[in-house]
Amino acid sequence: MGVILRNLQKVVPLRRARLRKDVDTLRHILGIQKFDLGVICVDNQRIQQINSIYRKKNLPTDVLSFPFYEDLRPGKLPCPLHRDELNLGDIFLGVEFVMNQCREESLDLHGALTVVTAHGICHLLGYRHETEEEWTEMLQRESYILSEYNRLTGRHLEPLMKRCSQDR
């Protein structure tokens, strides 16, 4: 098994193979290759709908994570007893939202999607950013992941520092 990638939108011209490769790199860095992961790319309308239903926030956002394991200690990988449980959960990428941000800040779309996906995977692994302490811990983890990513790929990605995605 691996990454189930779905593209449900038609606003952003996505490169599926590039996104999958970047997600695989992140999984390799985190040592979570044996776990399944769902990455679903949606437009503003869909991400806003999901945000409204599950977080009561009627706004589009960049990423929403739905962890399979809801009470993980941050960074502690689950030890599933059954193959069915080799699953971390699903990440919905608000690709239209991210594309609009990239346009405003002259960023590369796929680079931004990688950063946002790293953030989303951290949430699946139990990281939160509701308190100052949690935010610092998550930021450190994201920084590590992206510095490793940059080392492996030669790119220069930075963590989501200014915004707290799931607070939208």
Partner: protein, 286 residues
């Protein structure tokens, strides 16, 4: 999602071709037409002879069909029954209703410079991209998913106005041919059914999917079974994504898939209305 076939408030109803049942005159094998049991076994049943007798008094006739004798002026040589008349009148109403709900008399245009050719129910879209020729072929026959009754929530019933629209989601074949090549790269694609379902954001299938990929001799209309065909069911997902990106680069992406559905739906509706009109003409008089 599997949609209701009821098109409009005016109840222009037709059966999905997948569940078509032919309603014809009673066949001779119908049990009611078999010779009745002897009177000894069924003492209370009149014999057929009695019923069809021409003796005085009213005798109900079992098998008379009220055939309208062809008028001298008709001379079409066809049968005209009361049923045919009712059928013709029904078709008039159906055609009126279908035309009312028809979105447009002209077909929607595909973005991206695709040219459309029609050959009966088969449509072919083509375009050229830097010397490559891309064609997309689909047939509107059997392109509407079978209708399964949606479970009605207890105490709730959808008003007629909210009946979902019929959408045509045909399988389609994409052919990519490079200049001076003997073979085309051919993709057999479809719209996964669960993607068409309405729900509260539950859809998680791609809008369209590739089922098979093969190199086929350029120009051949029939799928050559002796050419290796890659089935995507158990394909490496990275390879699948590359194939999808390949198609997207040539204009076959989610936007195209959505527009193809709209086009196919419009063609199918047009053909359906034309069929009803032909049927009306056939039933009325040749």
């Amino acid at each position: 999602m599997l949609k209701s076939v009821v098109r409009s408030v005016g109840a222009a109803v037709r059966l999905s071709s997948a569940t078509t049942s032919t309603a014809r005159a009673l066949p001779l094998s119908c049990p009611t037409l078999r010779s009745p049991s002897p009177a000894i076994a069924r003492p209370f049943t009149r014999s057929l002879w009695m019923l069809n007798s021409n003796s005085s008094g009213y005798r109900p006739k079992l098998f008379s069909s009220k055939v309208l004798s062809p008028s001298v002026s008709c001379r079409c040589g066809g049968l005209h029954t009361e049923g045919d008349k009712a059928f013709g009148d029904f078709l008039s109403d159906e055609i009126k209703e279908e035309k009312k709900i028809q979105k447009s008399k002209t077909l929607p245009k595909m973005s991206g410079g695709w040219e459309l050719e029609m050959n009966g129910t088969e449509a072919k879209l083509s375009r050229s991209v830097s010397g490559e020729k891309i064609t997309v072929t689909f047939n509107i026959n059997n392109s509407i998913p079978p209708n399964f009754e949606e479970e009605v929530e207890q105490g709730q019933q959808k008003p007629a106005e909210e009946e979902p629209e019929i959408v045509s989601t045909p399988n389609f074949v994409v052919e990519v041919t490079k200049q001076a090549a003997k073979h085309s790269l051919v993709f057999d694609c479809h719209f996964p059914e669960d993607e068409m379902s309405h729900g509260e954001g539950e859809e998680e299938s791609d809008i369209f999917a590739i089922r098979e990929v093969s190199f086929q001799p350029e120009g051949d209309t029939e799928w050559k079974e002796t050419c290796y065909t890659l089935n995507t069911d158990s394909l490496d997902w990275a390879l699948y994504d590359h194939l999808m990106d390949f198609l997207a680069d040539r204009g076959v992406d989610n936007t195209f898939a959505d527009e193809l559905m709209e086009l196919s739906t419009a063609i199918e509706h047009q053909e359906y209305i034309k069929f009803l009109e032909d049927l009306q003409g056939f039933v009325k008089c040749n």
